[in-house]
């Protein structure tokens, strides 16, 4: 499953790059704010790629001018969930709905155990494949 070097979960933008520094995150946030996008912070400890709905950390932030406030919020989320995935999503509302336009991970667990392949034998010797995260063997909140 993993094709990248560090065996990290890749999801959203920049996930093949080394982790973004706060300065780089600020620059990305600034770009989003310049375009008038609202920004939300979300976290999860279920790394499955089909896990689309992460928990929101506070409300999405509208009408901000400067990334400092968002960075403050990101840092407080990191403090609360140091071993969770945290992502920042920018929402564009020009089409009348808040559609995610940018999304990138800003925090990861210290170790990411990765995924295994699960084979399920079906009728007529057919096999269906799926992936399973080792982390999700433990209950939510105790995974990392």
């Amino acid at each position: 499953m993993m094709t990248n070097v560090g065996n990290l979960v890749t999801q959203g933008q920049f996930s093949f790059l080394p982790p973004l520094t706060d300065k780089q995150i600020s620059a990305q946030l600034k770009y989003a704010l310049k375009n008038g996008w609202a920004i939300g912070i979300e976290y999860t400890d279920d790394p499955h790629p089909r896990n689309t709905y992460w928990e929101m950390f506070g409300n999405p932030m509208f009408d901000l001018k400067d990334p400092a406030g968002i960075l403050m919020e990101i840092n407080s989320c990191r403090k609360t969930f140091p071993n969770h995935y945290i992502r920042v999503t920018a929402f564009n509302s020009t089409r009348g709905v808040e559609s995610p336009t940018m999304s990138y991970i800003v925090n990861r667990p210290k170790t990411e155990p990765g995924f295994s392949v699960v084979r399920q034998e079906g009728a007529g010797r057919s096999i269906s494949y799926t992936i399973h995260s080792y982390a999700t063997d433990k209950p939510e909140g105790e995974r990392y």
């Binding site: 506070g58 409300n59 932030m61 009408d63 901000l64 001018k65 400067d66 990334p67 400092a68 406030g69 968002i70 403050m72 919020e73």
Partner: protein
């Protein structure tokens, strides 16, 4: 890390072009505009000049590698109603932006309602949201003394003040907080929140205007709306201000603005009912003495504006 004690090198005495820096910052333009558009307010202008000078020198110092902590620029504006606190706060945001002290230079103007919640757990997110909006700019808290209500111990204002203080301290580079309010009430506010007082470096008092300054303000206000006084009208308005200043609920420039609004009303009525059918552009622009002398301040020595004086006090 650089060494704190530096030895003097020949380059340390080389001249620094403060003047070029001054020109490059366009700050002169802003300060001149301030002088032009704000009448009076000597102590305020002096303080703004000082602040501008400090920030400018700081910038030059930074270029030469002489680092110092960013100065704390939280301010408190005290003064009577209508002395221009809000107007100056707006300018302050622009000036600080020009000097590169704040990144965006926008002003977020809030009152107690925007900061304090209605139930437990409501205040903190509310205050934080406002603070986040103000980051990179200036947060202006009007009538700041309302934040703290000592008579009600279950009031959530204290929680809001706590968060404010924390952010003022930790995010000093990200935002400037300006508190404003009437002098006596702000005194009381600081008395019960000593932490707030000590975190605000600049306490600026806005003096009341005298009659001539108010007349100059009236002229500026009219010019901004494409009106003007006739010579008699101006004299009458000077008399009006002198009389009005003695009456209660006098709110400096705000009273002047209200008086002008009423004079415009009377002017419109005069033009409408007047015999003169062909009006020139100049007629539409001019406030005559009779528009002003019709005020109840002259006729009865009472306030204008029907029965109540509520129009004069701040909403």
């Amino acid at each position: 890390m650089k060494k704190h004690t530096k030895e003097l090198t020949p380059s340390d005495s080389s001249p620094v072009d403060l003047d070029a820096e001054f020109r490059a910052s366009n700050i002169k333009e802003v300060l001149d505009k301030l002088d032009r558009e704000l009448i009076g307010l000597k102590p305020v202008k002096t303080r703004i000049r000082e602040t501008a000078a400090l920030l400018l020198v700081d910038r030059v110092r930074k270029k030469l590698g002489l680092t110092a902590g960013a100065p704390s620029l939280h301010m408190c504006f005290t003064g009577n109603p209508g002395t221009g606190k809000t107007t100056v706060a707006l300018r302050m945001a622009e000036i600080l932006h020009r000097l590169g002290y704040v990144r965006e230079g926008h002003l977020v103007s809030v009152t107690r309602d925007d900061l304090v919640g209605q139930y437990i757990g409501h205040t903190a997110p509310k205050t934080k949201e406002v603070l986040k909006k103000a980051m990179g700019g200036v947060l202006f808290i009007d009538e700041a003394y309302y934040l703290y209500k000592p008579e009600n111990e279950r009031d959530y204002g204290a929680e809001s003040i706590e968060i404010l203080l924390q952010t003022m301290e930790n995010n000093r580079d990200d935002l400037v907080v300006i508190l404003a309010g009437y002098k006596d009430r702000m005194e009381k506010f600081f008395h019960s929140n000593p932490g707030m007082r000590s975190r605000i470096a600049h306490h600026i008092d806005f003096p009341d205007y005298d009659a001539d300054e108010l007349l100059a303000i009236a002229r500026l206000m009219l010019a901004a709306q494409n009106y003007r006084f006739s010579p008699e009208g101006e004299k009458a308005f000077g008399d009006y201000i002198r009389l009005r200043m003695k009456l209660e609920h006098f709110a400096n420039a705000r009273s002047v603005r209200n008086a002008l609004d009423r004079a415009r009303l009377r002017q419109a009525n005069r033009l409408f009912e007047g015999a003169k059918k062909s009006l020139a552009k100049i007629d539409l622009m001019t406030l005559e003495a009779e528009d002003i002398l019709a005020s109840r301040v002259f006729l009865e020595g009472k306030l204008d504006g029907e029965s109540n004086s509520g129009t004069e006090t701040k909403k």
